[in-house]
Symmetry: C2
Subunit: 415 residues, 2 copies
């Protein structure tokens, strides 16, 4: 939670932190600037123990003021004069701009750098600033950053926002189920009123409209993969493909608040009309595994331990896993889940390796998404994913948006 930031900075010896870039698709800026809309040239400087200062283009002074933070217009530092003095050398002019900003805000010591930017640009600038300034050292964190740590647990407002995205997401999923069921099947594929096959592209188009109506955006795109394609975890489905009965559809949807903000992540697997026995059995294996994990998981459990447990459960049901064969593309081939917040994938992570100390900490939000993947010809894929909150008061995972886990969606076969 944000309240932990100063303590974490102190533990790591950071006197200040800087994040740069737009608020869109840039979680550290969005988070510290309290979600206001600012563009590329923005810089946010936070000294340890102090409120951040937001340095913005004059164009954006009113938007920036909505953050509630102290705002400085970038023109105060006269960037055009610096550019002219450096004869158009952007790198030197920007390093000088940082010097002027740091002097103005009295920043010294170790400055940790964040923000999703072109990384070559970041590398060049950090090296230039460090070469010029003796009283500042710009450093980068590679993993388990202070933001990774503060984001691992959510405060009340964040839980409410993610819950709201979840409610709207399952609304879209419900629309999708009803839309599919409203079609009749001819020769085992869904058809439109004019008799032509309903395609994955048609379905995705409806989903995009429902998302927009629900004030959601979908930066990553929906996965709606059928049959053999569903057997590869991130295959997205081909737009021109018809929708056949009796094959698994993996429908994975991970929208975000419109205008940037918090994500949700959710998957259901459906068979239209009927499910062949092999798929029914595999689905039951995944669902039982899902329910066992949900029943067993408790606060502060080690996430890699849950990953081991899923492998054990699915191996006992006869499936290969990443534990029995680390390079398998068949059976259980993923990790069990991931945290969700301003990033679609964030801590806690569930991969099973030495040094993964992530836990189901009180207040974390994570997906649980066991699956089985058989990508061979005639193969199939299954994934069940809910998004859960470790309720600090109860010490148990609470599902943030419930939705039926029935495998078979009815259709009007041939009527």
């Amino acid at each position: 939670m944000k309240a932990d930031l100063d303590r974490l900075m102190a533990e790591r010896g950071f006197d200040a932190l800087v994040t740069t870039g737009p608020s869109a698709n840039n979680p550290t800026m969005y988070y510290l600037a309290n979600g206001v809309s600012v563009t590329e040239v923005t810089m946010l400087v936070k000294k340890r123990g102090q409120t951040p200062t937001l340095i913005v283009s004059s164009y954006e002074r009113d938007e920036a003021a909505k953050s509630g933070l102290p705002v400085v217009e970038r023109s105060k530092y006269d960037p055009v004069r610096l550019l002219n003095e450096e004869r158009g050398d952007q790198l030197r002019a920007n390093a000088r701009l940082w010097e002027v900003v740091f002097a103005d805000l009295d920043v010294r010591g170790t400055v940790a750098l964040y923000g999703r930017e072109e990384q070559g640009r970041a590398l060049a600038l950090a090296n230039e600033v460090n070469a010029r300034q003796s009283d500042v050292r710009v450093v980068g964190e590679f993993a388990n950053t202070v933001f990774d740590a503060v984001w691992t647990t959510k405060d009340v407002d964040e839980v409410a926002r993610i819950r709201s995205v979840g409610a709207r997401t399952v609304g879209v999923v419900g629309n999708t189920a009803a839309f599919l069921s409203s079609h009749r099947a001819v020769d085992d594929v869904l058809v439109k009123k004019d008799g032509s096959p309903l395609t994955i592209g048609d379905v995705k188009r409806e989903i995009r409209l429902w998302l927009a109506e629900a004030d959601l955006e979908d930066p990553g795109g929906v996965i709606f993969a059928i049959g053999r394609d569903a057997g590869v975890p991130h295959s997205r489905g081909e737009d021109d493909q018809p929708i056949a009965l009796g094959e698994t559809i993996v429908y994975d949807i991970s929208p975000r608040e419109a205008g940037g903000g918090y994500y949700f992540d959710f998957t259901r697997t459906w068979c239209l009309g009927f499910a062949p026995p092999e798929i029914e059995k595999a689905y039951r294996d995944v669902l039982e595994t899902f329910e066992t994990i949900l029943a067993e998981a408790k606060v502060n459990d080690l996430c890699r331990g849950l990953q081991q447990r899923v492998c054990q459960l699915l191996e006992a049901r006869g499936h290969p896993t990443v534990r029995s064969d680390p390079r398998t593309n068949r059976g259980y081939v993923t990790s069990l889940g991931h945290g969700v917040g301003l990033n679609i994938h964030e801590h806690p992570f569930f991969s099973d390796y030495e040094g993964n100390v992530d836990t189901l900490a009180p207040g974390c939000i994570a997906t649980i998404e066991p699956g089985l993947y058989y990508p061979d010809d005639g193969g199939f894929g299954i994934r069940i994913e809910d998004c859960l909150w470790m309720d600090p008061a109860m010490g148990r995972l609470e599902n943030l948006a419930d939705f039926s886990k029935e495998l078979v969606l009815p259709v009007n076969n041939g009527v």
Copy 2:
């Protein structure tokens, strides 16, 4: 254009380039991976003169294959073993992964780094790789990168895609004009059927639906700012604000192909019902300036020269400009335009500083967007923006999506 990449790499002494990260909101990856959908752990390595290799999660092998590039599954390099050997130290494990990849692909020498990533992470990793590997030096470009250069001019396919986004964008703008005009005004504000005021939030909601219907997404959000707010270039408009007659509305819309890809950028200024004389005069000043620039601009013109010319034209009409006062927030306070492509702002840039050598190169696509901003109480803003292509055959700017520049939108006043 992409065909220039190897020449530019040679000129700058780059033996290879690496870009990392997802294809979403990461133009270098999207561009070199030919627009396929891949997520965070992706790495693309291009040796000079050779086809890039795409290294992806096994989950994404099928999506990655659609790029037409050679694809390597990341599991080949056994990242989990590396993590275990490094006892969970992500930085050392990743630096070793890069060593193994570089050895496998026979990459040596100067490697330029791109991709929109967390910049602290990039800084730490580049320094670690450089400290470990004697035969590779990872470097970053701060400005005027090889991608900035290749993106400055567009090939036929890119022009067609941006033109298509443009046609859909002005379709949405036309819907918006018709929607506003379909409302009646009571006491000089637009009202809904139930008599309550139509708000900016209501309008933006419709715009989001039209964008989704047109297969467009809107990562930056629409500007729909009225009256005094329109006088600040990037103020977005308040959702709860009613829409008054006789005030300027700056409506700036910059959508992108759904699922990531090419942007368009477009602005109109409207007054509902009527325009006061002061606004009519200022609008005419902007429109005449716009038309003069369009008539005068020719291939290879220096962009900063056009910026100087706009200042001259608007100063002659009695307005302060960034030339007459670099820190002014009144009058002409912006630069004239910017390139548009996979980035909403890219080269050519029009700012007037020494060393800005950007030109209207044959094949470039740029906005031209003069405006006037008077943010005082009772103030107003005006901006007219089209997106234009420097047609290499004609040597003249061609408007990629035409739309009326009438200031006044009629409404049913009081009927």
